[in-house]
Structures are given as C-alpha cells and as structure tokens.
Symmetry: none
Subunit: 181 residues, 4 copies
DNA sequence: GATGAATGAGGGTTCATTCAT
DNA sequence: AATGAATGAACCCTCATTCAT
C-alpha cells in the first residue's frame, strides 16, 4: 500500500498544478481532489495545508528546472546554455500561472523562499559562466536576471503571449543583456 | 444630494485603491467601506459588484496615466518622454499590488480589457514618436513594449524591488530597446 | 434596525441555551441558527466565535442568578435565603446541561473564569450571612459550597433527578452543612 | 494468533483510557491507536465504533471497582469500608475526565446504562451493611448515594479539586450521611 | 441616498469509519 | 489478523451581496 500512496501523492501534485493553471489562485481543494480522482481527505492526508501543497508544487517545479539547467550546461557552450534556458523558461511559463498568482498573495511567499533560494544558486552559476564567456554584460547580477525572468514569465502567462510576441520581447531583452557598457 | 453621492463615489474609489494596496487581493468590501468612512451599502450602491469596483479602479488609474503621458509629451523631447514614462511607471507599480493580484484571479481580467485597450493607443503614440526620433529601435511594436512594461511592473510589485534593482533592470531593458539591429 | 439587531441577539442567545441543553456540547452553530430562526451568518455577526457564544451564555445566566440572590436576600432571613437558593439552583440545573458539558471541555473554561469569579462573590456573601446567623457550620468556605453546588447541579442534569431524588440528596447535604463540628 | 489479538485488545483499552484522560473528549481514534502502538484498523477491529470503545472502558472500570469493593468489605468494618470507598472514588475521579465528558455528550450515555446498573448492586450492598452497622442514616437509598457520588466525582474532575477541597467537601457530605433523623 | 444587519453558499480542515493490501 | 491509506460528511467560519429601516 506504500506504492498506492506514492502514486496518489504524485497524482494530487499533478492535479494541483493543472488546476492552479486553469483556475488561478482561486483553485479549490475540492477541484484538485476531483481532478486527481481522489477524495478530498486524501489531498489533506498528503498535504495537511493548502500552503503545504503550494510548497510542494514549487519545490517540485524548481527541482525539475534544476535538472534541466544541468542538462543544458553539459551539452553546449555557456552562452547557448544561458540563452536557451531563458527562452525555454519564458515559453513554458504558461504552465505556472496559478502558482505565480498564489505566490503573489501575501502570507504564502515566505513558505517557498527556501526552494527558490536553492534554485537561485543554480541560475547564478549559469549566468556566471555566460558572463565569463563574454556572452552577457558583467554589470548584471543574478538577482537582476531572475527579476527579468520572473517578470517576463508572469506576463507571458497573464497576457497569453504567442511565439511571435515571445521572440520579439526576448530579442530586446537579450540585446540588452549582451550590450557592452 | 448629487454632490454628496459623487463625493462618496470618489472616497470609495480612493479607499479601495489604498486597501487593495495594503491588504492585497484578500481585501474585503467591509475594509474598503470602513476606510472610506461609509456604510457597506454605499459601496454596493456605487459599485454593484466587486468586479465593478475593480474595473473602476483600473479605468481611473489608466486615465490618470494618460494625462501623465500628455504632460510628458508636451514638456520635452520624445526620447526622454518615452524613457521617463517607462521608468516612472515601473517605479510606481508598487502601489498597484492588490489590484494586479486580483486581476490575476480568474474571471476578472477580461473585465478590464477595454480600458487597457484605450490606454494602449496612448502608449503607442509615445513609442512611435520615440522611434521617429531614433531613440528606440524600429523593430519593436507597441504590444511588445506593453508586454515588457506589464511584466516589469508585475514583478516589481510581486517581489518588491527597491530602487537599485529597478535601475539595474531598466538599464538592461533600455539598452535592449535602444540597440540597433 | 438597531432594535432588530438587539432582538436577534437575544433570540440567538436563547436558542443557544436551548440547543445546548438538548444536544449537549455537540450542538452545532447551524442548529442554533435554525432554532433562532436566523441565518448562520447572523449568529457569527453577534458571536464571532463559538467560544464567544458560550461566554455570553454563561455571563447571561450568572447575571440572572445574581439578581435572584439579591431578591432572596431582601425577602427573608439569611438561613432561608441560603437554603432556598441552593435548592432552587439544583432544581433548575437541568437547563444548563450542555453549557456545563461545554465548560468541561478543555480550552473553553478559561474564557468564562471572570464572570464565574464575579458570581462567586455573590454566593460567598449569601453564605457568610447564613453562617453569621448560625445556620451553616463555620468551617466551610465559599469554594466548598460552590463545589457542592456545581457537583449536585451537574448530576441532577446528567442523570435526570426527579423531585424526590432532589429532596433526598439535598436533605443529606443540608444536614451536613448544618452539622456542628 | 488469538493471544496476539487479546493482547492488542487490552493495549488499545489501556491506551484509550490514557488518551481520554490527557486529551479529554476531543481525543481521536488515531491518537489512541498511536498510543497503543497498533494501526488504526486494529482499533476498529476490536471496537467497531467509538461508542463500543467507550462502553468497554466503562465496563472495564466498573469491574475493577467491584473488585475493589469486595476487597474493602473483606478487610474491615462496614463503616470504614463504605467511607473509604467513597473517598477513594472521588479522589481517583480525575482519571476519568475524558470519559465523563464523552458520556455527557448526547447519545452515548444510554450505551453505558447496563454496566452502571450492574455496579449499582455492588454499591448498594456496601451501603446496606454500613447502614446496618449504624454508620449511615437509614433514610437514604442506594440511588441517593450514587447520585451524590457521581455528582462529586464529576465536579472533582471538571474543576480540578485538590486534596484540601476534596476533604472539605467530603466532610460535609459524610456528616450529612451520618446525621440521625 | 445611506446604512448596516441579515443571508447563505462556499472554503479549508478534521476525523470516524471503510477497505485494499 | 493487522495495517494504514482513502473516504466524505460535517464542522466552523468568511464575505460578497441583498434588503429592511
């Protein structure tokens, strides 16, 4: 029965991510349970608090992203790794709508500071290598890059960018990041 | 009695803006009424729905912004007007925290499409003049600029940028916007 | 509408007392609302917490009892006042079943310490006068009397004493209270 | 495998008594299972309903009390046996807090009438002998004594009597019970 | 027009009980 | 026989909205 429980936990997590995406921060625990095909009690068994669920989603997402960064780093030159990651993230951002909105809501943000901080380190390494390779101007810090990244992701999501818009905006930002002086 | 009503409407609007700023999306109608110094019934008389209230705040804000654009346009060269406006907006974004969060919640965003569209024309004019003056690359459209603007504003608000971060991020974006080719 | 509100508050209070009596500590807020003929929101408007409701019931009850003591004191000799009060209280105890049970539940008791303490003073005065008149042995304190009173009331309620049982038990206790040495 | 089951039953019973004592009526079945060191399923195998568990605790307690009465009867004179039992019971009452509270909750009390009735016979025998020895007035019945007993136990529990209070109250009641006429 | 009391659907959460393993 | 994950009715409480005064 350990296997069942683990499978259900994963199902709930996936359902939560999906529902937060569709319904935004207003997503209900019941909706999540229904989507996962389990009783509401099961959701609470695995995530005693809505905040716990949120925390789990963030941690989970960031872990997958960290894996992706490592992959990119091992395959090509630092500049490509950096810009590909940036591009990929903004394009995929649509999936994170609800979670972002939820994070914006007061009170929950502190709960996810730790996983976010852990991830920040990864992004900073990616940036440092791109800067060492001369592909990114040296006067921007990891936090600035993260800020840009978050901003673009949020808007991509909120206003539903298509591929053309995405490309246009990223071109501007990338030119800005590459600019000397 | 019409004067009374109009004054109350304005008071509620101001109170709502203030309360959304302080309490975020969780602000209740009662808090707004208390802040405005009126009964809750009065709030609902002027804005039959919370959505209506939200709509009014946005419309109101955008109208004030339009005025600001006109002001900037009449005072200096197109490049300065464009970049000053952009900077100012991102810096002031903090004040709109709660409203943004609420907009992110499903169902409300469509309600404010119209006032945003109206404002879009104003921003596009500002951009066109800056481009004509050679201060902004010609291959970005108004929508791209708006997308960047919204993204940065949202993140400024969500993650609480201070002035240093603000300046760093804007430097990158402005360099990107000014870049030739 | 102030009058309406006051009337509703009283209705809720009465309903709560009745429902706690019938359903015991397990009484739900909905039952109370239904009994009072109001919506559940009204109950919460007047008593934001179940604990507040409990507190109000206790305070209310004790105030009525204090009035009753004063009445008895002004009408007859101290001995009669004391024993009549004791008898009356035990006989009426049936009405307080649920409240007593609720008090017994951990966590709520502290909330009602103050009104109980206030009432204690009244009972102590009643006792002191009866002792001064030689009708009650001098070696019992107010707390001892209250303890006896509470114990008998609770059991009267829990086990449903009829008048005969009541008289028999009180005879024993009164003899004990009157005993010299 | 029968031995295992019997041992588990006993463990659950002991755990339930302990947990009800510590957590009061709010004790959950899971707490009990955890304390007993068994799975929650095991608790329900032995006691299909929380009410069954309660019933078993009461029955168990009363059986032990019956044994205690027999012990007291065989060791000394009837008067001492009677008064010692009475005293002992009230003093130990604290241990039954949660169970009493639970009994007070609607619907459960009837379930334990039978074991209480069985025990009544034992107490009545104790009383009859004390009366025959002239140590207790002849005009009180077993039910009166039980009523007093229960009342004092409940209050001892509810209001947390210390030894001094216990002695003071019992002195009054014993004087009343011994009184002639 | 203004007021604020009343309303009740809906949210998060708990826990006795069931059932697959 | 034992386990503990799953279930869902029921609880307390909130808050947008309505309506009597």
């Amino acid at each position: 029965m350990r296997a069942d429980a683990r499978r259900n936990r994963a199902r709930v997590l996936a359902a939560a991510e999906a529902v937060f995406q569709e319904a935004g921060a207003a997503a209900t625990t019941e909706q999540i349970a229904r989507r996962a095909g389990v009783g509401i009690g099961t959701v609470f068994r695995h995530f005693p608090t809505k905040s716990d669920l949120l925390h789990a989603i963030i941690t989970d997402s960031l872990e997958r992203l960290t894996v992706r960064v490592t992959e990119l780093e091992s395959h090509g030159d630092p500049a490509t790794a950096f810009y590909d990651f940036f591009t990929e993230l903004v394009r995929q951002a649509g999936e994170k709508h609800g979670v972002m909105a939820l994070l914006a809501q007061t009170g929950e943000a502190p709960a996810v500071h730790k996983p976010i901080d852990a991830w920040r380190a990864t992004v900073e390494r990616l940036l440092a290598r791109a800067q060492a390779a001369g592909a990114v101007r040296p006067d921007v810090g990891g936090d600035d890059v993260l800020a840009l990244l978050l901003g673009l992701c949020q808007t991509a999501v909120t206003t539903g960018w298509d591929d053309t818009r995405c490309r246009a905006v990223l071109r501007v930002v990338f030119d800005g990041l590459a600019a000397r002086h």
